[in-house]
Symmetry: D2
Subunit: 350 residues, 4 copies
């Protein structure tokens, strides 16, 4: 932590600032400039995060030096982490593609979709049973019936399933069906939920909040990891900006920045980032080129009749084409496209 004083700070004020810092167990290092004084704080910065140094007379600014996350930090883990989800791996040599409908709308559409995306090369199946919808009047998902359909389709296809959990009270139930728990963008700072999924043994797909900084995303991962669950995959899904030409603004630079800052795998959701089916392919290419470990893509047998997010869903054929078009980019980054299911049994079914 670096404390900079106001112009014209008094010696007594500097003393009081120094005392407060030392009282918290840190050492101080004082550099007096012509107009301002810089006070470097050496030791466990976490103790200072709680202290309101800015409210002390004479303080102009306070700048943290240490990163506030530890378990998620690259500097504390030598190797990139691999997260195993059923028989798939995210963060390994292969690029992992998760595909499926926004919502589970029925058994048949789910089965059709799963079989098709599997054949096209998807390694995991996504599908929402509990849906966060901005209107209370919109379709909210099939709930437990949807979870059962997901489990059955996993048994049939061998694709591990990824599904969202929205409420601390659902975590146990959803963990009984799903191979991977998704935390949606709107819940990225739902700290109660983060703690809850941190205490079960299911990998977590953590989506970046609509206006979360990269640092906040890492802090959210830290919440989960601090409770014991180290299997976290981060997902860039577009951030909110002033631009309205796309649903969100995909922050492609977040991929290399995260790769530098953390050992956790990073995937991208091109469907939500762009919000239109015709943007899914170019955004997927960009994500892979920038170093992402995989993708999560919305696919629906008939997007025009989808109960949610149809505008951004690919058709089954569209997804097949995407996977073919991705191949040259997978080659360019020297990673196979797959991470795919190899046997017809997922984790939870085992």
């Amino acid at each position: 932590m670096i404390v900079v004083t106001r112009r014209g700070v008094s010696d007594a004020e500097i003393d009081r600032i120094r005392e407060r810092i030392e009282q918290l167990g840190l050492r101080t290092h004082i550099s007096r400039g012509e107009h301002r004084t810089i006070i470097g704080c050496i030791g466990d910065e976490a103790r200072l995060a709680e202290a309101s140094l800015l409210s002390l007379p004479g303080v102009e600014s306070v700048t943290p030096v240490m990163k506030p996350y530890k378990l998620a930090a690259r500097e504390f883990v030598a190797e990139p982490s691999r997260v195993r989800v059923g028989n798939a791996v995210i963060g390994g040599p292969a690029l992992a593609v998760i595909a499926g409908p926004c919502s589970v709308e029925g058994r048949d559409m789910l089965r059709t979709t799963a079989q098709s995306v599997k054949q096209s090369g998807a390694a995991l199946l996504r599908g929402g049973a509990y849906k966060p919808r901005s209107s209370p009047y919109a379709f909210q998902g099939l709930g437990v019936a949807g979870l059962e359909m997901l489990a059955q389709v996993r048994a049939e296809t061998g694709l591990p399933i990824v599904t969202e959990v929205m409420d601390t009270r659902q975590v146990e139930e959803v963990s009984g069906f799903a191979d991977m728990l998704q935390i949606g963008a709107r819940n990225m700072q739902n700290f109660a939920l983060l703690s809850e999924v941190g205490s079960v043994q299911r990998p977590v797909l953590l989506k970046r909040g609509l206006s979360a900084t990269i640092k906040e995303l890492l802090m959210a991962a830290e919440y989960i990891m601090a409770r014991g669950n180290r299997d976290v995959v981060l997902c860039e899904r577009g951030i909110r900006t002033y631009e309205t030409a796309t649903r969100n603004t995909m922050d492609v630079a977040a991929i290399p920045v995260l790769k530098r800052e953390t050992h956790l795998p990073v995937i991208v959701d091109p469907s939500h980032a762009g919000g239109r089916a015709d943007l899914v392919a170019p955004l997927s290419f960009a994500a892979i080129a920038a170093g992402a470990d995989g993708l999560i893509v919305e696919v629906h047998p008939c997007p025009a009749e989808a109960l949610s997010d149809g505008d951004q869903s690919l058709t089954l054929e569209g997804f097949g084409r995407l996977m073919e078009q991705l191949q040259p980019f997978a080659t360019a980054v020297a990673r196979p496209l797959g991470g795919a299911a190899t046997s017809p049994t997922g984790t939870a079914a085992a």
Copy 2:
């Protein structure tokens, strides 16, 4: 809903779009231009919100016409709503001021603060027992012990209490102590939590999300109201922008826009909006001038030692000064400053 077609759309495509809309029970009205065709959709637009018209061939854009919120909408309720919280009223003729510490840190600091802010003219007491913190390593609040302290201090001072609820599993417990449940900015789109507080009989203070639009804030209120709880107070607390000179950017225009769009009371949190104690006064003046129904202000006996948000907390004296300085602005908007507690018993204590 207005559908605009792409340049060069075919008649067959237009027919298919029209059929899809009529299939959903709406009437269509077609205006053919030189290059594009406009299809107006008349009837219950909610049914269209589900439909993914953008995925139909020939569609260029889809624009909603109706507002997606009903219970919260000004056009369905003639009079501004008043929300009674214990013996205080928000949205009535008087300006209501909620004050207190960010977190309840102990009985003495809470009592001292409550007595002081009451004397200065606050009508309600705030204080966090469960605290959403961006780091898992930061102070997370005293929990139920904090709730008990709040209830006791209410019994002593008569100030109704406002406290945050973060988890669906806490709603019943917190409702047993608090006069008003606060939904924090990070939970504004925690739909499970919104539904849960919608089904208890406690007024709700709903804070705008960090990057929520005004429309999304109203939809979040609609979630609560749709479950039966009509006592919702909205709170502008600053939004996230590129500007770093302040912690958030207070969207002062949200106040008149909300007043036009909804009948619900609107208050402002100048402490979080600015993030520095020295900005609390000017932002409070601006909020009242722009038409806010009240304020929620962080006050701490010793901000430099606060366990959270000390940088933006006023001292007890500072809050007293603020209330004095607010007087001329209350006069300017012709509203008394108070809405204040009149007897030493709050709702839940009754």
Copy 3:
């Protein structure tokens, strides 16, 4: 400037960083922490701004300590500056209101507007002769004919005139007519233009750029002042954010922040900030309450027929009402509403 090194930096790297800083004429002060080292740089920071310290091996972050503006900084000028424009003063005890049409569309509409806003209490007349329009096909202003109309109406009413200059080649010409030169939001970082208006003897109204930080606004003022022209008035006019309910987001906190950082007067443009006539009044009240020194308001005899910005223009009666409604807020901040013209001659006409 504070330089923080990466974890695991070598002594040789620290030496090289230190040498580079000292080579530029600054002293260094080194604090070694457990994992990182902090290097404080003492001396003329401006020399470091040029240096690319981040590109040196071992450097993780570089944080400036000094403010990059000097002439505009509050800390170098004891008293708030007053800017005299013709017979009006901005930044003095009185609140100054500038009013008039977006564009000068003709002599009659300008005269009618000027007489009316003067009677309602405006101190200065605004009107665009050169208009920045986002479409090359939109009305671009009357040019020199518009300037002549402004000068004539000044002669008739005594109101000093404020008009925009868009091109370095226009500065001399516009200065021959106008009492105050306006730099529009889109030109706030048109450095050639800033330098040019910095070298004439006409006060400048500098509007904040659509996405300019407060610091960048002050640096733009510094550009003008560094060339010799100290008569700069800053104008908050809303910034660009994700919110679409209003044309821009008025950053009301910018007013007290600017008041703390600079001695220059600060006014607000509620017409552009909100983009709708019905928001002008509440935003004006908020601006005055937060400490603004005045307002600039768009007024048109018949907004529905305005050639530009009609949606946000007040009618003549609407402006009269606004001035009446502002009175209680002027009283609340203990400043008279006026700064108004006292004689029928402006500067340039003298």
Copy 4:
């Protein structure tokens, strides 16, 4: 243009709205809903853009249907445009890479850089002679001396040169030296400058403004094209968002959106987008993968001693490595990497 009325609009109000629209030469088409009425406007929408329909009683919203740009629009030009710059082509089959120092700092560093980037495969040389700097005290470029150095190095290497023009008064002079005129991000809505470069016969590299929408970028291109100069290349260089981990947020989706909306070539500036040398490579890969026609990259023989933008500049070796690493991505998009200079003479030298 689609006009939606307020709830409870009167017939007289609807009539007045319709009359106003028809008075401007358009036809109307009225759809009456239960609560609101939709008025479609058919004909030349540009005439309506001037009209302030929102200020008419009864109007709730006004939504444009037509695109406001014509010359830049994809729908009016069948084929993607190719822009010839000296002996290079941007927008042709090959990916064009522009490289060079932020500022021309001297003849030797420029020559060294030019020879090196040419050998590594760059097709054009960039270098600033006039530099927009946010501080008036920072290095402002060598001016005409810098232009002469650029011309000389072009003569020696055959690389066409790209350099920024900041002032309408410089356009003629700079056009005498440069093969391509760059309009910087801060001048994207400097309409006087856009008009001026629109009337010379030099290709223009138009950088997207810091917070410009894609539509505004296209309107800026339209300004240039409307004056007769059709040789415009668009450049995505990152936009301003709340995220501070990178200097700007590269809007990678802007590439496919622009490709859909316009026939003009689109290149990307990964140096400014990320603001750090280590982000240049991944952002370049993403840009090419998403469909960009080329890149503009900052390169400096010794970044740590650069007079501007050293933090984001590649070394000569770093640029060589980048070009090698780009090869697989060029292969993936099936475009050769080059567009390169084939003879030692540029346009202006001819």
